[in-house]
């Protein structure tokens, strides 16, 4: 066989290989973006549930204005948060006010028996789970993407085309991670 042909075939195979690697990295990077969007969807869902919750609770908890206002304020803060770290902080604050609200609700048996309230409680508890599962999936995806960009030979392609490592969504405080899971 003509040596020129051999070279052509080798180059063609190499190009195909690079294309394959590149597409794989793009796919993984898109997955990371999607996984992040999932977290946002769930955070937004929590924000959307709160006005409804306040409305339901208000009739029963006439003397808990401060608790209710704290939730509303925390929600506004969370919705206006700009960068990621601010967002994480604000969401944590919102979470805290919600826990307080549900703790106070324990003192109102009528409220606790209301089907509307029970339904909202289920929705909020589940949204909380969804946020943590979305975070879990996001971190898994980032791990996969990062590993894919670091192993040889994909790391060369990642370097050439500028695939940057993804950031994990971690809870900075170890104590917080160890804290028992919240159930409303």
């Amino acid at each position: 066989m003509n040596p020129v042909w051999i070279i052509v075939i080798v180059v063609a195979l190499l190009v195909l290989f690079v294309i394959f690697m590149f597409n794989r990295l793009v796919r993984l990077r898109n997955e990371v973006t999607n996984a992040w969007a999932q977290i946002d969807v769930q955070l937004k869902r929590r924000h959307d549930l709160i006005p409804n919750l306040i409305e339901t609770v208000r009739g029963y908890m006439k003397h808990e204005r401060e608790t209710l206002e704290a939730v509303t304020e925390a929600r506004t803060r969370a919705m206006n948060a700009k960068d990621i770290s601010e967002k994480i902080e604000a969401e944590k604050g919102l979470m805290g006010t919600l826990i307080r609200l549900f703790a106070v609700a324990e003192n109102y048996p009528d409220l606790k028996a209301s089907t509307n309230f029970l339904a909202l409680q289920e929705e909020l508890a589940s949204t909380e789970n969804k946020i943590s599962f979305a975070r879990q999936y996001y971190n898994d995806t980032v791990y996969r993407y990062n590993t894919a960009t670091q192993v040889f030979p994909a790391n060369i392609i990642a370097g050439i085309f500028g695939f940057k490592a993804g950031t994990f969504f971690t809870v900075e405080n170890e104590a917080e991670r160890a804290a028992p899971k919240v159930s409303f």
């Binding site: 997955e31 996984a35 999932q38 769930q42 339904a119 289920e122 929705e123 589940s126 789970n129 969804k130 599962f133 979305a134 879990q136 999936y137 898994d140 995806t141 791990y143 996969r144 590993t147 894919a148 192993v151 028992p180 899971k181 159930s183």
Partner: protein
Amino acid sequence: MYELVRANKIRSAALTLFMALILFLVSYAIAEYAVPGSGYIGVLIGFVLWIILTLISFYAGPSIYLALGHARKIKKEDNPRLFNIVEEMTIASGLPKMPDVYIIEDPMPNAFATGRNPKVSAIAVTTGLLQIMNRDELQGVIAHEMAHVKNRDVLYMLVVGIMVGVITILADLFVRGFLYGRRSRSASKAPAQAQAIILIVGIIVIVLSPIIARIVYLAISRKREYLADASAALFTRYPEGLASALEKIEAFVQNAPPRLLKANATLAPMYIVNPLTAKKKRDSLFSTHPSTENRIRILRGMGGASFVDYNAAYKKIIGKAEDLIKVDKEGGEGTVSVRSPSGEEVDKKVLSREAMDTLWKSMDYQFITCSCGLKFKIPPTFKGDRIVCPRCGTVHDV
């Protein structure tokens, strides 16, 4: 996880090919037996039959399975808790679309998944399951079913399951024909002895193939049950949820009268615990599932929630040297910590009522609660526009 899906796809393809070979071999042998020299026509007929049945199972299979189980589709309002759990597991598993949710009226706690790909799938649970499981347990069961969808096991059950069925039917037809009929032998020039040998080999192939097909199919089916358990532990980060759910199912099975352990034979292997063979304690070549006891012990023996942890527990409890799941760098080679239980307290009565209400709601019954506390369930066939409470006499609009 994702490498696992890829490996599963390759293995499924190889298995489908293997089953196709057995199918062609059987069709060839039968045709050759009926009319010597017509083996190739037999293969052609076998091929056409297989294509038709595969297409039917691919497109109609999920709805056929759901119909066999008398499953009814439910909406979020029918059982928000169940729906939320399915949504949670969809997110945890990273499926592109949430499976449809179905309910089956059956006192045995059980569940199954079906579908043709992650975009077209369904999960069905029995009322018995909803009646006795707390949130963590239900989550474990749903995660197991979700894993069957994610790992492409549902497609495997559809396509390969059908092939095993076709092979069995063909062999069965042959055996009947062999017993009742005389074959029309045209004048053949081959020596009688050689013919006899071919005849015997042919019969052996035909009789053995359904058995071999079934054994291979079931060995893989058992392995996939383990895989789904491992995936469920990873999705939920809480192996104890599924372990405890399996334990409750096992307790039900051991105490229930046999009349309650019924299911359609086609559907039975797809349940999280096979109702028809659930009472047997040990694995055999013909079990569709590994023994529930072993599954529980492995889940409880896990040091964390990752595949690595599952492998370690599996090796220790089953006593095998090789890993069950091949783990690679991207899937994560370390252990993953387990989360704490949700700590939700459940009232058995409330759960029981919720489960039955879900069923009523799935049948479009309307619910009205009277001020005196009485609850009406109004069937969709109800014609009038008002109803009088039999206890306090209040009139309600329907």
